[in-house]
Amino acid sequence: MGGRPLYLEPRLEPRLRSLLAATGTLRSLTDALGSPLHVVVPDQIAENLERFRSVYRRHHLSGQVYYAHKANRSSALLRRLAATDAGVDVASLGELQHALGAGFTADRITATGPKNPEFLWLAALTGVTVSVDGAGELDQLAALVRKHALAPVRVLLRLSGFETSGVKVLSRRSRFGTPVRELDPLLEAVERHGDAVELTGVAYHLDTTSVAEKATALEGALAALEACRSRGLRPRAVDVGGGFGVSYLAEREQWEAYTTALTAAVLGRRPPLTWGGHGYGLRGESGTLRGVLGLYPAHRSVAGAAYLDELLAQPAASLGGRPLAALLLEHLYDLHSEPGRALLDQCGLTLAKVLEVRSQEAGGALLVRLAAKADDIALEDHGVLVDPVVIPGSGAGPGEGPVAVHLFGGLCLETDLITRRTVFLPRRPVPGDLLAFANTAGYAMDFHATRAQHQPVARKVAAWQDGDAWRWCLDDQFWPITPSGGAQ
């Protein structure tokens, strides 16, 4: 196995911890509904929303928290959220229909991303706010409004390509939004379509972990709003998108030890830590480390609502150095945010049954075959490394001592590895055990799932606490009025 086991234990808040302890429930669920199985915990999303709200309150900011629907298809999570005061950010016709059907009224929905005509029309008809990607989409929207005699549509302008003065912050290029350099022609279009659209503000979504880049964008958005006002428009909101992050691991030390060991393995200074010596983007060239680590920074000291708080505390150099929160407030702007992953933190887990445990050579990692496909448990696809929790099967006696394993699925592909890294488990699993992958609700449940080889995609259930017990129903059967569940 090569040295001490390198555990990456999941961060578990009380709800998920309690659910994982309900081993009887989890076993009977997989017995009845098969493996793999997703379990979502709708009450947690309401609690996460409240954490975002408290950041808003601390800064006296008004505005909406829009859940980025793309991160999970669950109806239960969406309906639970409909019973709060949150909004939802939809990126397709299907998501919009789903949100309307879950009870979100149009004033609580924004439509983002590239849009086809049907999506635009339904958004315009129902009165959803549209985050407009560019001048072309604005023209298209205005034409729809006129042709079908709809009421004027509220729009946000999605911007990108923000620049700083002094120090140039290079930003990852985005295919979405209009570069701020082209704001003037876009505003001319807004004015030209004054009968069909009403500008309510500007938006951006940056795919980066960097607070500095986001602060640059927010500062740029404030400048863009000033440009709107100087033309006599009356914007009142900034939408800062999502990307606030999740901390997946319980212990910083484990993450640090793991990444250090990975570096050493890539440089050939210790045995490989991955299937086939995969380096997650790193490679060794004559003793020097090259490339970048293509992994999600799985332990974060600041994530989710705390990340938003940190962003809001950043000083805006071009606006006198005041914190961004103070500037938003003083300018009387609403703050909109669109957390996806961060709102789904601790909102679910994925269960997979162990089918086979095979030894390769003596002392090597065990091969553990799960009743699952890699795309059903897509943590690895997002570069998230976190250990599964072993839940003993009903008859199985626990194996002794830590083991190193490779987890793979049921497809006929060599690449159907559920983890490319060697996973360390506190004991040898046996057929019939369940492996529970915690915190999979954000992007790791159905973002990638396919129906290849006639293998069904994982089913999904919603679970909630009823006193000391856990109760559940099929995801699609959950409503916030489900007995004892959700928002009583």
Binding site: K168, D207, S210, A212, T288, L289, V292, G294, L327
Partner: protein
């Protein structure tokens, strides 16, 4: 000492003994090599000059821009050297986290580009990381860059092999120290010095210091980050040890306050790491030994780093007339008016309306006839007393009525007879449909 050019003043830095009463080692003489006394302020002056010098004539001919991946000291030295030769300098980095250094570089005429952060929605198949792109841009044919490439350039190490190392031996009267302790950034100084010392006496022990993994000490790398450095070879060091940011600052304070050596956090880390390492062996020694560590640069550039981590060290005396020393009862009892009352009051008595928001927010929309004194400035003004006549009533306004209540309470305490706070602030004013103007 007379020189023809400031670059002639690079090197020949002093080796200063640390008072044993400070470090407490009984059998070891500990010396600091004061690289902070190089003309541009750091150990990097040597490497920057040695790397750039042979390429300057050609660069001047082509009008090349000097570029380097640097977060501070190398950039500073290169910016000066480039400027002296009429060349531009650009620093590309994602590590420049100390604002004063950014400002200083801009002052020296540098252009700074910050690399984008990691993608939040990770695509593990992406290969175009920003650094790879940077190198590709540089090596594209026909580009006119002078890339000093400090992490791979052997002339970085060479500057210390021929300069810093031999200077230490000379100042120790031809003896090689028993220990050499240095922080590892580009690994240039530690590798060059170590090699020079070992050539004279292979028994020297070399201690490399890195930052604790989750910590940030400007200029030093962590144990993983050093693996990305082309000049780094683990064989160079007899041991690698890590230092936390707190320890670095503590070490820096000792150098600053007790030794009169105004070194920065890296020097502090080297001092701390040296004393920690040597204390263990000191007990067992029976004869005198010598150790040398490097003080890389000066403290002045790191004040905001210190302020962030140890605000207690920069504590200022309490201020007079500060809104901070009001009691909750005083704030709660501050005179206030509702929007409707305020509108009537403005019409009837014309109080001075003071808007405490930033000038940008004020410029965008404000109450007609109001003056703008941003809260920070207002706080300053109040230290000297009430800044307007007591005979005129005053209405204070802020976003939600919280700050204005504090200042209304403070001014009341200071003796102003009629100051009121706008309840609910400008937001309540707007929500009540009262007029806001931009003029």
């Amino acid at each position: 000492m007379r020189y023809d050019s400031i670059t002639d003043a690079i090197g020949n830095t002093p080796l200063v003994r640390i008072d044993p009463a400070v470090h407490g080692l009984r059998n070891i003489d500990l010396f600091a090599k004061l690289e902070m006394l190089n003309p541009f302020g750091s150990v990097k002056d040597r490497a920057a000059w040695n790397m750039a010098r042979p390429l300057l004539a050609e660069a001047v001919e082509h009008g090349s821009q000097v570029v380097e991946l640097s977060s501070g000291n190398t950039a500073k030295a290169l910016a000066v050297v480039a400027g002296m030769h009429g060349l531009g300098f650009k620093s590309v980095t994602n590590r420049m986290r100390v604002p004063e250094i950014k400002d200083l570089l801009l002052l020296l005429g540098a252009q700074i580009e910050e690399l984008p952060g990691q993608s939040e929605c990770l695509d593990p198949t992406a290969t175009d990381d920003p650094l790879t792109l940077f190198h590709r841009t540089l090596s594209a044919s026909g580009s006119t860059y002078l890339h000093t490439d400090q992490y791979y350039n052997p002339r970085n190490t060479e500057a210390h092999l021929t300069g810093t190392g031999p200077e230490i031996v000379k100042d120790l009267d031809g003896r090689v120290p028993d220990w050499f302790v240095a922080c590892v950034g580009t690994a240039g100084s530690s590798t060059g010095v170590a090699r020079a010392l070992r050539e004279e006496d292979p028994s020297v022990r070399v201690v490399g210091l890195v930052a604790a993994k989750s910590d940030f000490i400007p200029g030093i790398r962590t144990i993983d980050e050093v693996q990305e450095v082309g000049l780094f070879d683990p064989e160079t060091y007899d041991t690698m040890e890590s230092v936390s940011a707190d320890e670095a600052i503590e070490g820096m304070l000792t150098l600053n306050r007790r030794c009169g050596i105004l070194g920065g956090p890296t020097g502090g880390a080297a001092y701390h790491g040296a004393v920690r390492h040597l204390r263990a062996v000191d007990e067992e020694l029976t004869e005198r030994r010598t150790a040398v560590f490097i003080v890389c640069d000066r403290v002045e550039s790191y004040l905001s780093y210190v302020r962030q981590r140890r605000p207690d060290l920069l504590g200022r005396p309490p201020r007079k007339n500060s809104p901070a020393d009001l009691t909750d009862a005083e704030v709660g009892g501050a005179p206030s008016v509702t929007v409707a009352e305020a509108r009537r009051w403005i019409d009837s008595e014309g109080p001075l309306v003071v808007d405490l928001r930033s000038p940008y927010a004020y410029a965008a929309l404000h109450i007609d006839g109001s003056v703008n004194i941003v809260d920070e400035l207002f706080a300053e003004l109040l230290q000297g007393g009430v800044p307007f006549s007591r005979s005129r009533p005053v209405l204070l306004a802020c976003p939600v009525g919280e700050q204005s209540a504090r200042y209304a309470a403070l001014l009341t305490r200071m003796g102003h007879p009629d100051v009121r706070s706008l309840a609910g602030g400008i937001i309540a004013w707007r929500d009540a449909g009262a007029p806001l103007v931009r003029d």
